[in-house]
């Protein structure tokens, strides 16, 4: 069972590499090196801040785009190319296929983030000429970004398991945007009464909450991150991704592929 999931995951990773997904690293490198050189000339006193803010924002945005646009095609493309039937005719269960695809995409994003992280630290060294202890906090921000990717991958797979690629992209991106406003949704719930309050509170818990994952700005100002937040975010990402992935498995198990 585990070997089959690993095989599907490694094939998904290879396919992503073949699709030239990692080419985004070139754009990232150009963006970061350009910013590191340029900002010192056009702004005042924020060279290091820009490298951290721009670097981590680019890691996040590039990853979200990759997660959405690859995630939505993971199932539908296999059906379209009819390769899914070949896979499922072998002793591979449908849930193994979904889980394997998830880990393949997550692996692609982790590798991508790893190389981008090297770029961020290189640019940081270029502008600061040294590393300080607080720079290690960037690793925490990168870890939170990866956790965010896990949620987005699972959501993209969930939509991909029953919808067309275009609609899946729209749904996933909408959830990403709504998830960024999760705190406001909670605020609305607090102001509402009766059934509306119940409904909005339910929606606030059902939709992904990305606000706690975004610590880029505080990291840039060298503000420490509570250990509690790290493990709570880890657990939240694991539970939410498991929920979305389970939903994808549930739908895909009952989907008529004939």
């Amino acid at each position: 069972m585990r070997a089959r999931v690993v095989h599907i995951a490694s094939n998904t990773f290879r396919e992503a590499v073949r699709d030239r997904v990692l080419y985004n690293l070139i754009a990232f490198a150009l963006l970061l090196s350009g910013a590191a050189i340029l900002v010192g000339q056009i702004s005042i006193d924020i060279e290091k801040l820009v490298v951290i803010n721009l670097g981590l924002t680019a890691v996040s945005l590039f990853g979200v785009v990759i997660a959405i646009f690859i995630g939505i095609g993971l199932v539908s493309k296999e059906i379209e190319k009819r390769t899914l039937y070949t896979v499922l005719s072998r002793p591979v269960r449908r849930w193994e296929f979904i889980v394997g695809k998830f880990f393949g995409l997550a692996g692609t994003l982790v590798v991508n983030t790893f190389f981008m992280a090297i770029g961020v630290f290189a640019a940081l060294f270029y502008v600061s000429h040294k590393f300080v202890r607080a720079d290690a906090l960037i690793l925490v921000a990168l870890y939170f970004i990866v956790l965010e990717f896990l949620i987005i991958c699972s959501v993209a797979l969930l939509f991909s398991s029953f919808s067309s690629p275009l609609l899946s992209a729209v749904f996933t991106f909408s959830l990403f945007v709504i998830g960024s406003f999760a705190e406001d949704l909670r605020g609305f719930a607090g102001m509402a009464h009766g059934f509306t309050r119940w409904l909005v509170t339910g929606a606030a818990y059902l939709l992904p909450n990305f606000s706690a994952f975004n610590i880029v700005s505080s990291i840039a100002h060298e503000q420490p991150v509570a250990a509690q937040l790290i493990w709570q975010n880890t657990l939240y990402a694991i539970f939410y991704a498991t929920m979305a992935l389970s939903g994808a498995v549930l739908i895909f198990e009952h989907r008529n592929l004939k």
């Binding site: 801040l49 803010n53 924002t57 996040s60 945005l61 700005s217 100002h221």
Partner: protein, 308 residues
């Protein structure tokens, strides 16, 4: 040469030529309608809306808005503009997006407070910005220093300046001169000494080359102002004693027992006009000097003004 290679060369040449031609036409079009690109516009002026629209990437957006504020100020300052309408909104957006962006408060206040053309001439806005900065960064003594600086330099409000310096002196790790400045402000004493201390502190507390060069210019101008004040007092004393003005600087030096002809920070001797005014030989070299200037002389605008 095969057909495919020929087509590739022709297509490649077409790409380069078309790009060059379109860039050329665009430049011509820009010359026809310079206002189209030169006009400053703030499409979204609400910091709250922008914060929401940033989808959590507010740190980067704050950096972009801060850079925009710097470019806006720099561009208008370069053109000797008399109004800086978008400066405060840009700084307000920047600091609401990232309330911990301390450079935006420090430099923002120095853009806002001085009168045009050296700044926006909005010291009240500068104070509003600094107070918001202190509210969000109460442990940063430099913000109290900058607040006191604006009160002292631009508003001459010694009491408020003393309060700001005194508050800053209570912050942990505050520089010891904060307490000294608070005391000096409270006494209203030693105008030149206080100003010298403030500009020396500006020099020491910034790594920015432009800010440091600006502080040096002000320190040089302060020395000129102090020299001219003392020499002018000497001329007055000479007049009271003899009933006439000294005919030359040498006569004044001899009568006052000074050690040689006094010189400005560049080594040029001060000159004495027939009307008894002490003036700089090359006033253009001291754009922030307020004394020793020929009548009607207008200094070139510089980065930070000194209302000494």
């Amino acid at each position: 040469m095969n057909q495919r290679r020929k087509i590739s060369i022709v297509a490649g040449a077409c790409v380069v030529l078309s790009l060059a031609a379109s860039a050329l036409i665009l430049r011509r079009t820009d010359q026809l309608r310079p206002q189209a690109t030169a006009e400053d516009v703030l499409f979204l002026s609400s910091p709250k809306v922008l914060k929401r629209a940033s989808l959590g990437y507010d740190g980067l957006l704050a950096d972009i808005y801060w850079t925009r504020a710097v470019q806006y100020f720099g561009g208008r300052h370069h053109n000797n503009a008399q109004s800086y309408d978008l400066l405060f909104p840009l700084l307000e957006i920047t600091t609401h997006l990232d309330p911990q962006l301390v450079p935006a408060y420090q430099f923002g206040a120095s853009f806002l407070a001085p009168p045009p053309p050296n700044g926006a001439g909005q010291p009240d806005r500068a104070i509003q910005l600094m107070e918001y900065g202190i509210q969000n960064n109460p442990d940063d003594w430099k913000l109290y220093y900058d607040l006191g600086f604006v009160y002292y330099m631009n508003l001459k409000d010694y009491q408020k300046a003393a309060e700001a310096f005194a508050q800053g002196s209570k912050v942990p790790d505050a520089h010891p001169f904060m307490g000294v400045l608070a005391a000096q402000m409270a006494q209203h004493a030693g105008e030149f000494d206080t100003a010298r201390m403030l500009w020396s502190a500006s020099y020491e507390n910034s790594q920015d080359k432009q800010i440091r060069a600006n502080a040096i210019e002000h320190l040089r101008a302060l020395r000129v102002d102090e020299d001219v004040t003392h020499l002018q007092q000497a001329v007055t004393r000479f007049g009271e004693r003899t009933g006439r003005l000294p005919v030359s600087m040498s006569e004044l030096v001899t009568a006052e027992g000074l050690q040689g002809i006094p010189v400005d920070p560049d080594g040029h001797p001060y000159k004495l006009t027939p009307e008894g005014r002490v003036e700089l030989r090359v006033p253009d070299d001291f754009p922030f000097a307020t004394k020793g200037l020929p009548p009607g002389f207008k200094p070139q605008p510089k980065f930070r003004s000194q209302d000494q």
